[in-house]
Structure formats: C-alpha cells, structure tokens
C-alpha cells in the first residue's frame, strides 16, 4: 500500500480509530499485527508469507541461540538463522542477476546453452525486514540482547506497518522496550489502555507526515520530469546539464526517501512509538564519513555495526585493511539496493571516497584541523563533499553503462558549454524553482534543528495554517497519479 494513495488515507484513520475505541491491550496488540500483515498483503498478496516465515524463523532461532549450552550449537543455530533469511532474500532478489552474469560468462567461454531466468516478483520490503530481523539474532548471538519470550511482541517488531516496506530499519533493543512498556503499564485509569493516542504525539506525527507528503508529492514528483529529461538519454548533453541532472536527482531521491521515512516515523509517533530519524540534512555533510551519519542512517549504522566493525575490528590499525573493509561494506550496501551493476558501482564509489577520506584523515587530520574549523574551510569541505556525493547519484540513477560512463566523464571533465543547459532551464522553470526552494528550506532546516518538533509546538491556529500551507501546494501541483516511492523497489 502506497502512503500517497487514498487507500492509505482510509487505512490509517481506520487503524487509529479502532485503536482509540477499543482500549483492550491484548486486542490492540493483535489488531496492530494483523493490520500490519494486511498492509503488506494489500500490495504483495501471498508474498506476505515470506514475512511470516522470517518472523517465525528468527523468533525461534533467537530463543534457541540464547538457550544453547555450547558455543558450537550457538554458531550452528546462528548460521541456520542467517542462511534462512539471506537465502530467501538472495533467491527472490538476486537469482536473475546471478543467472544473467552466469550466462554472460557462459557466452564468453562458449559453454553452450543458457539458463533461463526465473522472473520472480520482488517481495516488497524484503530487504528492509530481513535486515531488521537479522539484527535481532545477531544481537542475541553476540550476547547483547535477551530474546523476547512473546512471539506476538516479536511479530509486531518485524511487521509494524509504518516502517515495514521502506524503513527506517528498526532495532529490537530500541523498539521492544517501548512495546513492553505499553503492554506492562497497568496502574490506575490507564489499566486497560495500550496504545493511547496522545495529543502531543498526534500533533507531532501529523506534522511529520505532512512534511513527508510535501517532500514526496510537491518536490520529488515535480522534480522528476527534469531528471528524466536529462538522464533518459544523456549522450550529447553538456557538462552543466549533467551536473544539473545529478543535483536534481539527488534532491528528488532525498525528498522521495526522506519523505517516506517522515511519513513512517510520523505514523509510528501517532501510535506512541519513537523511531529514530533516518536523515539529518545530508546536503550539509562536510565529509564522506559525515554524509553517512546523515543519509539513510538506519541502514548505514546497520552496515557499520553488523558488517564493517566485525570486518575491521582486529585490523583497524592497518590502512590497507581499513580501506578494504570500507570498500567491501559499501559494495554490500550498494548490492543491498538492487541486483544491478549500477548500484554496485554506486556503493564502490562511496567505499572509495570513504576509504580515501579515512586514510587521509588518519595521516593529515591533525595538521589540517585548524583550516577545516574556519568558516571558509567548512564551506569548502561541504562543497567538495557534495560534488562527490552528487557524482555518485549518476551511478545510482543511470543503469545503461554507456550513458553512465558518458555522464560521469562530462561531470568531471567540464566542457564549459552553456547553451543547451540554458534551454533545459527555460523548459523546466517549475522544477528549477523547486530546486531553489528546496535549497532554502534545507538551509533553514539545517540552521533551526528539529523543524517538525518546533512546528508541532505551534499554537493550534498557526499549526492549522502550517497544514494548509503544506496541503495547498500538494493539491495544486499534484502530478495526477500516485507515483511509487523509489525505495519501494529495494
């Protein structure tokens, strides 16, 4: 179910209404699990069984790992848990990609007949809920988490509908205590209430959801034609047109994905759950490393904790090992996004930037510190970082290798021609205006800190005015049909 459709605008109030009317904690809990499963079933049909399988597998494996009396048994169970869910993810997401690569190799070495593709439907949200569920058994295996005894608690943690299909990727150590607190609160008048919809949460949640819809439906969907105009066939484009396309796509995907995250976090907040922010003004990042503390934070911290740290931990004093581990981690992150070489290249580029930056910082960090603390140094570092970040978006957006290679060359080797770019700007005045407006709002948000929090504390009349200011441009400039969120395909 897309957030930006009438279906969701009917689904959410019904769920909230039932939660608000029936104050029986057991009912509310089970109702939320079934509402979440329905949310996925509505789009994914029978593939919802994969989610149910993942829940059952990791719930029982998690308990078995915790209760195992030998390290060998712990390890064996852990491997079963990993293989089970990664096997599913690999089968559904990467089978055809692997077969294609195998067939290409077969043709090169003239091995004869080709293997036919499976053409499987990609289960929606599988990359997100698999990683979310995996973190649970990894934490138990490491000894840093005690498994829950309740299958219902675990089911809601994995299936909770707001972040289910495109994140943020939750951690059990963060979500389960919040759920437990609701389930165990049993004093006085709140005896039977589980998910109490509080005014403050409602106001904050609606504010954040409104901002999310605004980002997606006003900015992302209306900037999209400019991006398509430039990148559907970039061959022959001027350097400045390519740079404009890269910037426009960066802003589009940020508004699309962070918009989705805002709606998810907002919907969860209305139900009384706090989900950490997934984005934090990424276009003001001062280094590749800083960027990954600001962009898709739930995935970058997942990769850091469960992949990079275990890889680098024993070898962290060796520059070569730090370089290799960062590169390997980012390649996996690229592959996580999709079974396509362009995502692997995108991850590889980020890996190289991160690795070079980390090694340079180790060597020259102290001697250059004073420069980067000055205002000029900070602006310089933001500009250089963003130039690199927008470069990587070319690989993220363009799947055709010839087109990607051409665009990358033009992005780096400037031709200083302008006539075509001026023409593109003239023909896309509205998307250009949106890019300027976005830059101003992103800067205000960077300077003011937590805008949704500030907005939710406005007096009621000003808050309603804010909602009106958000809803009006969305409805005036609605593109005519619900555009899918880019991260749905991952």
């Amino acid at each position: 179910m897309l957030f930006n459709t009438l279906d969701f605008l009917i689904f959410l109030p019904i769920v909230l209404g039932i939660i608000a009317i029936f104050h029986y904690r057991k009912f509310q809990h089970i109702f939320l699990i079934f509402a979440s499963l329905f949310f996925l079933y509505y789009t994914d049909n029978y593939l919802v069984t994969l989610l149910i399988f993942t829940i059952l597998l990791h719930f029982y494996i998690g308990r078995a790992i915790f209760n195992a009396n030998s390290l060998r048994r712990k390890k064996a169970l852990f491997v079963v848990g990993l293989a089970g869910s990664l096997g599913l993810l690999g089968f559904f997401k990467y089978s055809d990609f692997s077969i294609t690569q195998f067939n290409i190799l077969g043709n090169i070495f003239d091995l004869g007949s080709e293997i036919s593709l499976l053409n499987l439907a990609l289960p929606i949200g599988i990359s997100f809920y698999t990683f979310q569920s995996l973190s649970y058994i990894i934490d138990i295996y490491r000894g840093s988490l005690t498994p829950t005894k309740s299958l219902k608690e675990y089911a809601l943690f994995v299936a909770f509908f707001p972040p289910l299909v495109a994140g943020p990727i939750l951690r059990a150590s963060h979500f389960l205590p919040q759920l437990k607190e609701k389930l165990e609160k049993s004093n006085g008048s709140e005896r039977l209430k589980l998910f109490i919809i509080k005014n403050a949460d409602l106001k904050f949640g609606i504010s954040l959801m409104a901002i999310g819809f605004f980002k997606k439906m006003f900015f992302a969907d209306n900037i999209s034609p400019l991006v398509n105009n430039i990148f559907s066939n970039p061959i022959g484009m001027e350097s400045f047109s390519i740079i404009l396309g890269a910037i426009a796509f960066g802003v589009q995907i940020y508004c699309d994905f962070s918009g989705y995250s805002d709606i998810a976090i907002g919907a969860a907040a209305i139900l009384g759950f706090k989900i950490p922010l997934n984005f934090n003004k990424p276009f003001f990042a001062t280094s590749p490393s800083d960027y990954w503390t600001r962009w898709h934070i739930s995935l970058s911290t997942w990769v850091r904790d469960y992949l990079y740290y275990p890889l680098v931990f024993k070898h962290r004093r060796s520059n070569i090992m730090v370089f290799s581990c960062l590169l390997a981690s980012m390649l996996v992150m690229g592959l996580w996004h999709g079974a396509s070489w362009n995502f692997i290249i995108w991850g590889g580029l980020h890996g190289i930037f991160l690795a070079v930056f980390t090694v340079l910082r180790k060597k020259y960090g102290k001697s250059t510190e004073s420069f980067f603390k000055t205002k000029f140094g900070k602006i310089f570092s933001i500009v250089v970082t963003q130039y690199l970040i927008f470069f990587t978006f070319i690989a993220f957006r363009i799947q055709n290798f010839d087109h990607m290679w051409y665009a990358m060359q033009k992005y780096i080797l400037l031709d200083f021609n302008t006539s075509q770019t001026i023409e593109i700007i003239k023909n896309n005045e509205f998307p250009i205006l949106l890019l300027i407006l976005f830059t101003i709002l992103h800067y205000i948000s960077y300077k003011k800190g937590n805008l949704p929090e500030l907005i939710s504390k406005l007096k009621l009349r000003y808050w309603i005015l804010f909602l009106f200011c958000v809803v009006l441009p969305i409805s005036l400039f609605y593109v005519g049909s619900a555009q899918e969120f880019i991260y749905f395909q991952f």
């Binding site: 934490d139 490491r142 000894g143 840093s144 490393s289 800083d290 503390t293 850091r304 904790d305 469960y306 990079y308 740290y309 275990p310 680098v312 931990f313 962290r316 004093r317 980390t358 910082r361 510190e369």
Partner: protein, 77 residues
C-alpha cells in the same frame, strides 16, 4: 577515573571537556562517527590495557555505556 575517561573523550573527539557528561552520545558530539569511535576504542584499550569485544563496541550509545563496559573489565570508574 571519570575525569580520565572524560579527558580521553575530549582528546579523541577534540571538544572541550566541560561539554562531556554521561549522557553524551553521537547525537550530541559532532565528531563521534565510526572513525572516531574506533579511535576511542584504541585510546581506551591502550590507557586501561584491556580489549573490548565487538558486542561491547556496538552496544555503546552513550558515555554511560562506556563506563558500564569498563566496569565489566574491572576498571573502576
């Protein structure tokens, strides 16, 4: 010992010691990223002559968590 820990944090993250408390975290200390996180582990391991495990490192969300893990290594903080 708490002051020693704060001193190390101040050096690694390059911030004034007065800005550090037990609730300090990557959200409140700008420099606390994965690079400085590993540098902090190095500094603590060298100072206290201990070795952290992966689960201890990934479990750290605040300065209070560092104290908890140092205690597990019999370092009185």
């Amino acid at each position: 010992m708490t002051s020693k820990l704060y001193e190390i944090l101040s050096q690694v993250f390059d911030i004034d010691i007065s800005l550090i408390n037990d609730q300090s975290s990557p959200e409140t200390i700008e420099n606390w990223d994965s690079f400085h996180g590993l540098a902090l582990i190095d500094a603590l391991e060298m100072e206290f002559n201990i070795q952290f495990s992966i689960s201890e490192i990934t479990d750290v969300k605040t300065v209070a968590d560092i104290k908890k893990h140092l205690k597990n290594h019999s370092i009185e903080i």
